[in-house]
Structure formats: C-alpha cells, structure tokens
Amino acid sequence: MRGLVRNNIYSMASNIQLSFIIAAVMALVPIVFREDMLLSMILAVQIFIFVVNTGTSLRVDETSKWSKFELTLPVRRRTIVRAKYVTFVLLILMGILTSLLTLAVCSALGMSIDPVMVTYSYGFGLTLAITSTALMYPVMLKIGTEKNEMIVFFSGFAAVGIMLLLAAILAPFTEGMQIRHPLVGTVSTCTAIVLFIISYFVSVRIHRKKEFR
C-alpha cells in the first residue's frame, strides 16, 4: 500500500505545493488583521485547502488510465481504496499542521487566542474536510470524475448542511441553535469521522463492482 500512497502524493505534488503556499500566506494574515472572525476562517480554510484538490487528482488518474492500470498491479481493489483514504488523512493532517503555523504566528505576535473560537474553527475545518472527502470519493467512483468540480462544491455544501443540522438537533443542549458552540464542533467532527469510515466501506463495495475499460 505504501507505493500506492506514495503515488497518490506524487500525483498531487504540484497541487499540494500550491496549497502549502496559500496556507502559508494565510498564516501571515494575523500580522495585518487581528480579528477573531478572520482567524477562525483562516484556520478552517487551512485545514480544508489540501483535500479540495483530490477531485482534480482523481480526474487525472482516470484520464491517464492509471485507475485501470493499477488493477494490474499486485494489490487488491480494497488496498487501492484504502490507499486513497490514507492519502486523504495525510492531506487533512497537512492542513492541521499548517493551521498550527497560524496559531504560532498569533502566539509570536502576543495575540490572545480565544479557546472557544479555536475549538469551533477546528471543528468546522475538520467537519468540512472529512465530510467532503467522505462524500466526494464514492460519488466520483460511482458516476465518474467528469463533473469533479461540481461534486467537490456539492460535498462542501453538504458538510456545512450537516453541521447546521447538528446545531439544530443539539439546540436544547446549547441554549439555542449555536453553530459556534464547542459541543456542536465536537459532535460534527465525530459525525464526520463516522461518515468517513462508512464512506470507505461504501467505496470498497463500489470499486469491487466497477469495470475499467
């Protein structure tokens, strides 16, 4: 599986580099603007920005026929799918790491960081990143990658929708519907992780039945 993960990372290398540059520039924004709301957005976007390119990468795999060729390698279909999910986890970890850079910049500037805001930002960013990949990959596997931009867009919206729904469900415990409540962030992240695990099994099932001409 290591070779497949390595390949996934190599084939996204230029996109990852671009995401790093954007995330690094965003980490410097607090030097100029010291707003909690802006900082919250930066952290969430930094976590999400690396996985947003996976749609393009999956499309490239399909057009170069790598998706077909990798079936001829001495690996099972479930291993191919597992390697994709490990890659998604690595991309989310890269996002988390660059978001820590932003917190380090804030700390170096002597900014006071609101822990509730940080929890919300990480909850929102992780929910967005994990839910998007959990929805995006099986859908692309099933219907193809031709409409990858639309699928990424839809997955992002669905992630926000899930968070709003959970905020509504948890309203009795959060003194009204509060999307920024730490409980909503925590439950959303846990829900996203469960969705991600379900998504893996669904993707394995789809891949097993998929034919590559």
């Binding site: 290591r2 070779g3 497949l4 390595r6 390949n7 190599y10 084939s11 290398a13 230029s14 490239v60 795999d61 170069s64 026929k65 790598w66 077909k68 060729f69 079936l71 001829t72 390698l73 001495p74 690996v75 099972r76 279909r77 097993r208 034919e211 590559f212 001409r213």
Partner: protein
C-alpha cells in the same frame, strides 16, 4: 505443453451494446509470443481487460501459470507485466518517481534493471510523463513491465503509433524477453508486420469470436491463397478452404495446406499468404 496463459470459454456482454465476447478460448504456450489480431472492435482489448480483471467476465475461466486468475491472486500479478495502448501512468510522475512507486508495490522490483533499460531506450529519468512523446511513454511502460520479474507480458497494441525505429527497438526487447524459456508474451496488434517478425503463434479474433489460432510459420509457409475463377471456385468442396472473398472477377480462397491444394488443383494458382491477407479473408470473406 505448459501454458503461461489459458483462456477458456470467456464470454462478456456490455449492457445495451450489440458487441459481445463469445466463448473465447486460446492458450499461450510457455516460452512463446502469441500475436492477437483482429480489426477495430473485434474484441482484443475486451479480452485483455477480462484476463487482467479490469472487466468482469460473464463466464469463462482464465488460468495464468496453471492457476485460476482472480482478483485475490496478487501473487500471480507480481509476475505479469502489462502495457496498455495509453499513457498508463499518472502524467505528473517522472520515470524516477515511477520507479520509487513500483519499488514499494512489486515484490521483485529491480531498480538497476529499470535504470539500465531506460538508459538503453534513452527515456529521460526526470521529465514528467505528460511531457514525453508517445514513443517515450511506451518505452517507459515497457521498461517498467520488464523490471519486476514478470514471466508473462500482456501487451495491448504496444507498437501502435510508433515510428519504425522505435517499433524495431521494442520488438528486439520482446524477443530478448522470450529468450528465457519460462517467459511468454500475449501481444495484440494491428501492425501484422510486427507480429510476422516476432510472434510464434497468431490468434485471429473477429466479432468477439476466435476465428483461428495457428503457428505463425504454418500460416506463412503452409497456408496459401488460391486465386480462383468463378467456375473453379464452384467446383471446390467447402472442406478444402477456410474462407473465400470475391475480388472483381477473381475469388481469393484461403487454404490451410497449399501444397496439397496445388496437388489436387493444378490449374489454380496458389500464393503464399501474409497475416494481413489472412486477417482480411477471415474478417471480410465467407466462411
């Protein structure tokens, strides 16, 4: 005889399409090159995709090295090299990066051999695949297929679109590969002249059905094309020929034993057959 690949009664139908593979059966003997010939849409790629499990056959059995090939048999796939008529690999990778990927996938990846092969074939190691010419891409795919201890190569149109010099280089590599008598190649191609140079056996496929499997030397030296006039053709028994095709006033007749046919029909001219002519007669002619 030991077979590296045995395909038995393979059938595959695409939903909503009229084309189907119909009980395809053939076998590639160990130590040989099998040319797989047919017109566009005859079923060559579908057969190869079923062998490689990228398509799921409706029925039939595929045995590789005497064992049934299934999705779970990664041990068998460790010994199969594949070249498709496409880019094959992620376009953003270089040959060097591809090698580091395959090193972690194939149990017997030989980095030194891969390096030697890409040097010999003059494939740049640090240029992205999307910037390589088609010839270079196919050479890279061939080098990769050779570098992991494969005992069977499955090649789908590996020389199509290549210039004669590159094609010759590729054919030389294939011949070197089968110098080891445990190695075998299944190679589909439109370029029958390539198969005449390297193949030991030829299998013809048409409309999803196998028309003929024969030793190449038998096709070239034993088979023949009888040039008949209409009345000569009418006098022939159906068991004497495999296919016939009217060409103007002449009827070309494919006969399996030109010497015997000439002996029985001294007034009919019988020419040597090329693979191209045999294919045209099998595809266009009446059986």
């Amino acid at each position: 005889m030991i077979y590296s690949l045995e395909v038995s009664n393979l059938s595959k139908r695409y939903p909503g399409a009229t084309f189907s593979l119909d009980n395809v059966s053939f076998a590639v003997p160990q130590g040989s090159i099998m040319g797989f010939v047919g017109e566009n849409g005859a079923g060559k790629t579908t057969t190869i995709n079923c062998i490689l499990n990228t398509l799921k056959p409706d029925s039939g059995v595929i045995k590789i090295f005497g064992e049934e090939m299934t999705e779970a048999r990664t041990d068998i796939r460790n010994h199969i090299g594949v070249v498709f008529d496409a880019i094959n690999f992620p376009e953003t990778l270089t040959a060097n990066r591809l090698a580091s990927v395959f090193k972690d996938i194939y149990h017997h990846w030989d980095s030194d051999l891969f390096r030697q092969l890409i040097d010999r074939l003059k494939v740049p190691a640090d240029v992205r695949i999307k910037d390589l010419s088609r010839g270079m891409t196919m050479k890279l795919a061939t080098a990769a297929a050779f570098s992991h201890g494969a005992r069977l190569l499955i090649l789908d149109e590996p020389t199509s679109g290549l210039d004669p010099v590159v094609r010759e280089e590729m054919l030389d590599l294939f011949l070197e590969f089968v110098e080891n008598e445990e190695h075998s190649i299944l190679m589909s191609s439109h370029i029958t002249s390539d198969l005449e140079k390297v193949a030991d056996y030829i299998t013809f496929i048409h409309n999803g059905k196998i028309m003929l499997t024969e030793e190449k030397d038998a096709l070239l030296y034993q088979y023949g094309i009888a040039r008949c006039r209409s009345e000569q053709f009418q006098a022939l028994d159906k068991s004497e020929y495999l296919a016939a095709r009217k060409r103007g006033l002449q009827i070309d007749v494919l006969v399996p034993d030109k010497q015997r046919f000439s002996g029985q029909h001294r007034d009919i001219t019988v020419d040597n057959a090329t693979i191209d002519e045999i294919m045209v007669l099998l595809v266009k002619g009446d059986q």
